[in-house]
């Protein structure tokens, strides 16, 4: 008798199945994406015109902070873990994740962490209002009382991430099908393996820094309080030692996704597979020695500035290799432009633009003018929205037929793409201009010369938001019905996941396949 899923709510509560847990992660992440998006729209609505109209500055700061925290920890990271849960076992020919019960646990603590984080908005004194980077002493001595809940929520999210990372490493290293050598693994598996190591390396650092905050707030220590002999700059060093690898945690799996999609729709093997693996590893290594480029204005000694400037510029080399490889994969292919391909091509173009502004920001003297302006906001949204969000969206369209057995509506998919693409560029491109012209970030109100571009950006943001509602609609419609997908789904795609039926059976590869 086939061993199928349990019925009702207990299927989801007690499941140890990698596909079920992947689904839970993905839906949770989408819910957080919408919530974080609503917070962003509050910010953009207030910034539509100069003057204070909709929210007061206190609440505005809570919105920018919560938007950042929810998007980073609630939307992007769980989405990639969800994709890893679904795809990694199927890609390496494993029956499930190596540690299925821990897998259940690492998901189910997340809703509690975020419920606690969001509940701070309703507490006396409001929620976190110190930016997602929560620099001390604004986040310690001067923080609202709810900061303690924020710290505890971060601890839980960190625990979840560490457990997820351990699980992924254990799965990839131990459960590959016979013949699936490391250098035969799909790039998505490779990038996730490296990402998982980054997570294990830096999540404890984040836990450490919030614990030091907790000590400062409640137990009379002075880690970050100058008046007690502590050091506010120490906070930034520790935070960014976590924070810079963290931004690569949000982009490396995206590289893997795009490296799967572009060859499929170019009908040509990925160019430079080995160099892609080495480039990913180099980027991961460099991510540990560039953290202080976020701190060029704190007054580091000249030697420190120079070191972090040179190290940061070096990142352009492996990143460039990746872009060149993708472009060469497309070159002399036979391309079609289904929705996943559109999102992937947009990824390459827009992520490269974000890379260019990143290179500009790496130049320390110029950074004195860019730092903490909208130019930075433009930069990291150009790497994160097309980088993380577009790649996740591409992955959903690419693998959704495999997950649920139905083809999505291509017209709606393409409409979603064009709305999101136009919305994104309308929102974030003008931010380069206002940033260069002198608009600081994280302000609820601004001088009159920034008015035109801010209005354009706000319109773009609402268009982008509307596009995501259409995405939700398309996904639900696909799950409920639609044209049946074949096992291969696309034309000759590469990978073990396409050798099983669509929808993928509840248990796959109970007998390991042989990889030649």
């Amino acid at each position: 008798m086939a061993h199928g899923p349990a019925t009702g709510l207990s299927r989801w509560l007690f499941t140890t199945n990698h596909k079920d847990i992947g689904t839970l992660y993905l839906w949770f992440s989408f819910a957080m994406f919408m919530l974080g998006g609503v917070f962003a729209l509050v910010v953009r609505a207030e910034l539509f015109e100069p003057g204070l109209q909709i929210v007061d500055p206190e609440f505005f700061n809570q919105m920018t902070t919560m938007h950042g925290l929810i998007m980073v920890f609630g939307a992007v990271m769980p989405a990639f873990v969800g994709l890893a849960n679904w795809m990694v076992p199927m890609m390496i020919g494993a029956p499930d994740m190596a540690l299925p019960r821990m897998n259940n646990w690492s998901f189910w603590i997340l809703p509690f962490a975020f419920a606690m984080l969001v509940s701070t908005l309703f507490m006396e004194g409001g929620g976190p209002n110190f930016g997602w980077t929560f620099y001390a002493p604004l986040s310690t001595t001067y923080a609202p009382p709810s900061v303690t809940f924020f710290i505890f929520a971060i601890h839980i999210m960190g625990a979840s991430s560490i457990m997820g990372a351990i699980n992924i490493i254990a799965t990839i290293l131990n459960m590959r099908a016979p013949g699936m050598t490391l250098m035969k693994m799909p790039l998505f598996v490779w990038t996730w393996l490296i990402t998982a190591y980054l997570l294990i390396a830096v999540m404890p650092v984040l836990a450490g820094v919030v614990t030091m905050m907790l000590m400062d707030i409640h137990f009379g220590t002075s880690f970050f309080d100058a008046a007690g002999g502590g050091d506010p700059v120490l906070f930034q060093h520790i935070f960014w030692f976590f924070g810079h690898p963290e931004v690569y945690i949000m982009i490396l799996p995206a590289f893997g996704i795009v490296s799967a999609i572009i060859p499929t729709f170019a009908r040509k093997p990925l160019f430079g597979y080995a160099s892609m693996v080495y480039a990913t590893a180099s980027i991961a290594f460099l991510s540990f020695i560039v953290w202080a480029h976020h701190m060029f204005t704190v007054g580091m000694p000249l030697a420190g500035e120079l070191f972090f400037m040179y190290a940061t510029m070096l990142i352009a080399v492996p990143t460039g290799v990746k872009v060149f490889n993708w472009v060469t994969t497309m070159f002399k292919g036979a391309m079609t432009f289904e929705t996943p391909m559109l999102f992937s091509i947009a990824f390459v173009i827009l992520f490269t633009i974000g890379g260019f502004s990143g290179l500009m920001l790496a130049i320390a003297p110029a950074d004195f003018q860019y730092h903490d302006t909208y130019f930075v906001v433009a930069h990291f949204h150009y790497v994160l929205v097309p980088g993380a969000i577009f790649s996740i969206t591409a992955a959903v369209y690419y693998w959704l037929p495999k997950w649920c057995g139905n083809m999505y509506n291509e017209t709606m998919g393409k409409t979603h793409f064009w709305m999101a693409f136009v919305g994104l560029n309308l929102t974030f491109f003008p931010m380069h201009f206002v940033g260069l012209a002198g608009m600081p970030r994280r302000i609820p109100d601004y001088a009159l010369q920034f008015a035109d571009f801010n209005m354009i950006a706000s319109c773009g943001a609402f268009l982008f938001g509307a596009a995501q509602v259409m995405f939700l609609f398309n996904v639900i419609a696909t799950i409920r019905g639609g044209k049946k997908a074949t096992a291969e789904v696309w034309e000759n795609p590469e990978g073990l996941e396409w050798t099983v039926a669509s929808p993928a059976p509840y248990h796959t590869f109970s007998v390991p396949p042989t990889v030649k």
Binding site: P57, Y142, T297, V323, M330, T336, M360, A366, Q369, G438
Partner: protein, 383 residues
């Protein structure tokens, strides 16, 4: 097909027209829209601008090449045009080439960046020293060894911010007292903060430095032309982060000296006032002014505050209790709430006397008492 070709040519012609415009008018257009970094008014700011433009154009060239190949492939190598996919997927030569070439380009960028940075870090031999201290949410300027010091507050009226009055030209970029510097002198800014981290940024001077409690950072500017240069706090510092601008006024040396002398005289007059006796109405009127300028950011103009961080003054135990408790919290700050810092050094005796008198009688507190500047002085000396 013809229609599409026409549309395409129109789109392509757009930028061509822009490029064919004379350099002058293009620059004007860029200026009008505010799309680029300012060249600023110091040799340093121009170096940084040149560096910025150099990197920008390098990125543009790389972008055109990479995207060019991409779009060529997308147009020519598509299945609908009958393209047959090639099967090549490796080339060590290419990989080495596109690792080495970017590396060389980066070295070319690093060179001017390094020399500029070394210049910026040379803070020696300044002719004027100004200590800049960030407060929530204002700046304090102290002219080292000149006995001149003052606070600089946002001067944009609340009515403009809340859209009850038309916004002025320098909306949110205007202050009650600008920091004045001489032109053609190396002015060194020593930057620190009193509470949380702020950042002192004036784009025209290409100066941005974090103001950090417990640290004194150094930076400098050499302004060539007299003028007014505006900037803002660049590091999130709480609720009114957007409302603590910076205005630098650069004056010729002679006028700068006159201004310094004027400031010293003002201080002498203020010291004189401490010994005078004021009527209740004088204190109340001055106190309202002080309250709205200094206290209202947190406690609000109506004294209702934003509890719990910023408690109400209206009906509060302190404002309707013993006079000494009221003086203590203003002069020494709160022992329990760091948001209420000590104002004893920031406000003059006259201003403290006035604001205490105002707060004890406004907002329906109606205590009926008042206090004189000389009492404040005695309180401070008695500590």
């Amino acid at each position: 097909m013809l229609k599409e070709a026409k549309r395409l040519s129109a789109l392509l012609l757009g930028p061509a027209v822009l490029i064919s415009m004379s350099g002058q008018s293009l620059a004007e257009e860029v200026e009008r829209w505010g799309v680029n970094m300012t060249q600023g008014v110091t040799p340093m700011s121009r170096d940084i601008y040149d560096l910025h433009m150099l990197i920008f154009w390098i990125c543009v060239v790389i972008g055109v090449l990479v995207f060019g190949v991409m779009f060529y492939s997308m147009i020519v190598h598509r299945k609908s045009r009958g393209a047959i996919p090639a099967n090549f997927h490796e080339s060590t030569k290419l990989e080495i080439l596109w690792t080495a070439v970017p590396f060389v380009i980066l070295m070319a960028m690093a060179w001017p960046a390094t020399t500029t940075l070394i210049d910026i870090y040379d803070t020696d031999e300044a002719e004027v020293d100004i200590l800049v201290t960030g407060y929530q949410w204002k700046w304090k300027y102290e002219y080292v060894n000149q006995e001149v010091s003052f606070f600089s507050n946002l001067s944009t009226p609340k009515e403009q911010i809340y859209n009850q009055a038309p916004k002025g030209v320098n909306y949110l970029l205007e202050v009650d007292e600008p920091v004045v510097i001489p032109v053609k002198k190396k002015v060194r800014f020593l930057i620190t903060a009193n509470d949380v981290i702020h950042a002192w940024w004036v784009p025209d001077l290409a100066v941005k430095k974090d103001a950090i409690p417990g640290y004194v950072n150094e930076t400098w500017a050499y302004v060539e032309e007299p003028g007014t240069y505006r900037g803002q706090c660049a590091e999130l510092c709480g609720k009114d982060h957007a409302f603590m601008p910076i205005v630098v006024e650069a004056l010729p040396e002679e006028e700068y000296q006159q201004w310094l002398a004027g400031k010293r005289e003002e201080a002498a007059i203020l010291r004189e006032l401490t010994n005078q006796t004021f009527s209740f109405d004088e204190l109340y009127a001055r106190g309202e002014d002080v309250h709205n300028r200094v206290c209202a950011a947190c406690h609000q103009v109506n004294g209702e505050g934003v509890p719990p961080t910023f408690p109400a003054i209206a009906g509060s135990a302190i404002a309707t209790g013993a006079m000494n408790d009221h003086l203590s919290i203003i002069i020494d700050g709160s022992a329990t709430n760091p948001a209420m810092r000590a104002f004893g050094d920031e406000l003059s005796e006259v201003d403290i006397a006035a604001v205490v008198t105002y707060q004890r009688n406004a907002f329906n507190n109606n205590m009926g008492d008042s206090v004189q500047p000389i009492d404040i002085l005695k309180y401070k000396q008695g500590q």
